[in-house]
């Protein structure tokens, strides 16, 4: 009977936390929907951009391009554009150069070398292109299966760094590290602000002669230092235990880690404003971190997502964070090489801090 009484009291308390009840179902549903959309409804290889430089303009080149076009987003471009798309914009994982007189030499049964310019940092998309090239064998069978008869030799050249190949660890270690740092930041900022209210210190600080920006800024700065150290240590762990590359510039990796964690910390301040109790921090933190990780390409490459979600992903801080880290560790870029990402992440940081400050409530205001 007493057990029943306790149970009824707890059920009553649970039923009064409406946000918690909604989060109970809504959070997993949102996460499931995002993951389902990413893993089942992806645009697949058709969304992979594959620039081709057609210097041949003959029947063999035309047949190959038609075959690739069945599976990839093929664009005939100039050499300069191909180089830009692969090496600078990183929009394409590889570009194929079909040399002059390819058709003539092929029809004369003479072997020709075609060049594949690659960005191994996009290793998953690159693997997909190589699979498509095998499929193209069948499509071009009428021309005598050019690759298998070695009439066409493939020369692969990395134009973004020193290494030709990467493994799934190069995606997973930075991806999961970023996800856990984001999760930790959302939890720690939310709980730290609630803790100040519980211990009563928020009221004391609210009436102290220091502006809210200093108060919130100070709290976030502490988390920023811890978060940056956490991310760098996780990457170092990946380096020493699994051989994860860290790029050529230690300064760049530190700067990029700080920029990424700054944007995440400021974002955590915005999320924390909506977390009213300690109990809400867990579902909210998990939901936000999982959705941003899934959409931002921390779990899998963005080309796995449907087109609409890829567009959304390009607006997310997580996708810019992942891109900045990959630029440094996989493409060996220095600070100048990631200036665009750094500017975008700084913009996110400023915007999130401004919003967080607007939503920031301390002392009596926090109770109302």
């Amino acid at each position: 009977m007493k057990t029943l009484t306790v149970m009824l009291k707890d059920l009553r308390l649970i039923s009064r936390d409406r946000f918690g009840l909604v989060a109970l179902l809504a959070v997993p549903i949102v996460v499931i929907m995002v993951i389902a959309a990413a893993t089942q409804s992806g645009a697949g290889s058709k969304s992979i951009l594959f620039p081709i430089v057609n210097d041949d303009q003959g029947p063999v080149a035309t047949a190959l391009i038609r075959a690739f076009n069945e599976h990839l987003d093929v664009r005939e471009v100039s050499r300069a554009t191909a180089h830009h798309l692969v090496a600078e914009a990183n929009d394409a994982p590889a570009a194929l150069i079909l040399p002059r007189e390819l058709s003539k030499r092929y029809l004369a049964q003479k072997p020709t070398t075609v060049e594949l310019l690659t960005d191994p940092a996009q290793w998953q998309e690159l693997e997909a292109i190589k699979v498509v090239m095998l499929l193209a064998d069948r499509e071009t069978a009428s021309l005598g299966d050019p690759f298998s008869q070695e009439l066409l030799r493939l020369h692969e050249r990395n134009i973004t760094g020193d290494h030709v190949s990467f493994s799934s660890l190069d995606q997973n270690i930075p991806g999961f590290s970023l996800m856990f740092v984001l999760l930790t930041l959302i939890f720690s900022v939310s709980l730290a602000l609630r803790e100040e209210e519980v211990s009563g210190t928020s009221r004391r600080l609210a009436i102290a002669p220091l502006p809210p920006a200093s108060l919130l800024g100070g709290k976030l700065l502490a988390r920023l230092i811890v978060g940056t150290a956490q991310l760098l240590l996780l990457l170092l762990f990946g380096h020493f235990v699994y051989g994860l590359r860290l790029g050529h510039s230690p300064v760049a990796i530190i700067v990029v880690a700080a920029a990424v964690v700054t944007s995440m910390t400021c974002f955590a301040a915005v999320v924390a404003a909506f977390v009213r109790t300690r109990e809400q921090a867990i579902p909210v933190g998990l939901a936000v971190a999982f959705v941003l990780a899934a959409l931002g390409g921390l779990f899998w490459p963005l080309y796995d997502l449907p087109h609409a979600m890829q567009s959304v992903a390009r607006l997310l801080m997580t996708s810019w964070s992942m891109s900045a880290i990959q630029d440094v560790i996989l493409r060996d870029r220095n600070i100048a090489g990631i200036s665009k990402e750094l500017i975008v992440l700084s913009g996110y940081s400023l915007a999130f801090f401004a919003i967080g400050l607007q939503l920031f409530r301390y002392g009596e205001k926090a109770k109302s």
């Binding site: 009563g200 210190t201 009221r203 004391r204 009436i207 220091l210």
Partner: protein
């Protein structure tokens, strides 16, 4: 209804007459200067007025006891004075600085010990004080000395390196008070600083408050303990439903009333006939319950002879006690007066 309102207003005005009651004097016998001047301070939440047009001032070297039932508006008033909430109307001026327009300056000059313990349990006693000192911009060279001085004064110098979370409730209260004093504020707001502490810690806290007063600090002190307020406060303000219904020294407030002493009869008081006493024409008020009978009178001595006769005539065992009209009596009297209109 209109008449009732008029009567209430009249009562209020009578009670507030003591607003300009004598203030404490300094060592030279001169009136101390006002540190805080509160003028028509109000705070409303929608249609509900938590504080309604409160005015009074607080002087150097004075403890101003702010009393009121729960929900009377004490905490809201303190919260406005501490610049935590903005007043809906009115203002308070601290040494020439408005709490509405010069919040930053005022904050630097005010020390607040909130009702709840507002400390970091995982920081040591000294670390908590040092943190507050830095927030208030105390120079590093002065801070260490100030912290040591405070730890000595609250009797916790030996616990300086202990986590606050490991201290007893009374010790935490003392550190909570010290945290409000690190920056040597001009006005100290103490919101029920002895709530829920053991008698020893309460004694310590009261000693600290007296010392602060003797050092010339202006202190606003809220409490539910009437005896504490009576012994500690130089002047008293009583809040009821957001309004200041009385303010002044206890003596001045007593003088305002038509009675100043209480004759308390305990024992077999049921059925005692007080008609002969009423005939004296001086009896002011009679409060009666099952166990006792209280006569509120101007001068108890005037009633002793007729009372003796009444008691002898009743033939019952009745004990008689004469006491001054206490602050608690005053407080309950004013609260009841407000309720009854």
């Amino acid at each position: 209804m209109h008449r009732q309102q008029l009567l209430r207003k009249q009562d209020y005005e009578e009670d507030i007459r003591s607003f300009n009651a004598p203030s404490p004097v300094d060592n030279q016998g001169e009136r101390a200067r006002a540190v805080l001047r509160i003028e028509g301070l109000s705070k409303s939440y929608g249609a509900i007025a938590a504080v309604a047009g409160v005015s009074f001032d607080i002087r150097e070297g004075e403890v101003f006891g702010l009393l009121g039932l729960n929900g009377a508006g004490k905490t809201t008033l303190i919260s406005m004075l501490a610049t935590e909430q903005r007043p809906s109307a009115g203002d308070a001026v601290l040494l020439g600085h408005s709490i509405c327009n010069e919040r930053r300056t005022v904050r630097q000059m005010i020390g607040v010990a909130p009702q709840e313990i507002a400390l970091y349990p995982m920081l040591t006693t000294a670390e908590n004080l040092r943190f507050m000192g830095r927030i208030y911009g105390i120079k590093a060279s002065e801070l260490e000395e100030r912290v040591e001085q405070l730890l000595e004064s609250i009797g916790l110098a030996e616990r300086r390196d202990d986590y606050v979370g490991s201290l007893s409730g009374g010790m935490k209260r003392r550190v909570n008070l010290a945290a409000a004093l690190v920056h040597q504020p001009k006005l100290i707001l103490l919101d029920e600083p002895t709530a829920g502490v053991d008698p020893e810690s309460r004694d310590e806290i009261l000693k600290i408050v007296r010392r602060l007063r003797d050092d010339g600090n202006a202190i606003v002190y809220t409490t539910h303990y009437m005896e504490e307020a009576e012994h500690l406060s130089d002047r008293i303000g009583i809040l009821n439903s957001g309004r200041l219904v009385a303010a002044g020294t206890l003596e001045a407030l007593r003088e305002e009333l038509e009675f100043s002493e209480v004759i308390e009869l305990t024992g077999f008081t049921a059925g005692i006939d007080l008609t002969p006493m009423r005939a004296l024409g001086q009896l002011c008020r009679v409060d009666r319950d099952e166990k006792r009978l209280r006569l509120l009178v101007k001068r108890a001595a005037d009633f002793l002879v007729p009372l003796q006769k009444i008691i002898s005539r009743s033939g019952k065992s009745i004990q008689l006690k004469i006491m001054p009209f206490s602050l608690e009596d005053l407080f309950l009297h004013l609260a009841r007066k407000e309720v009854n209109g």
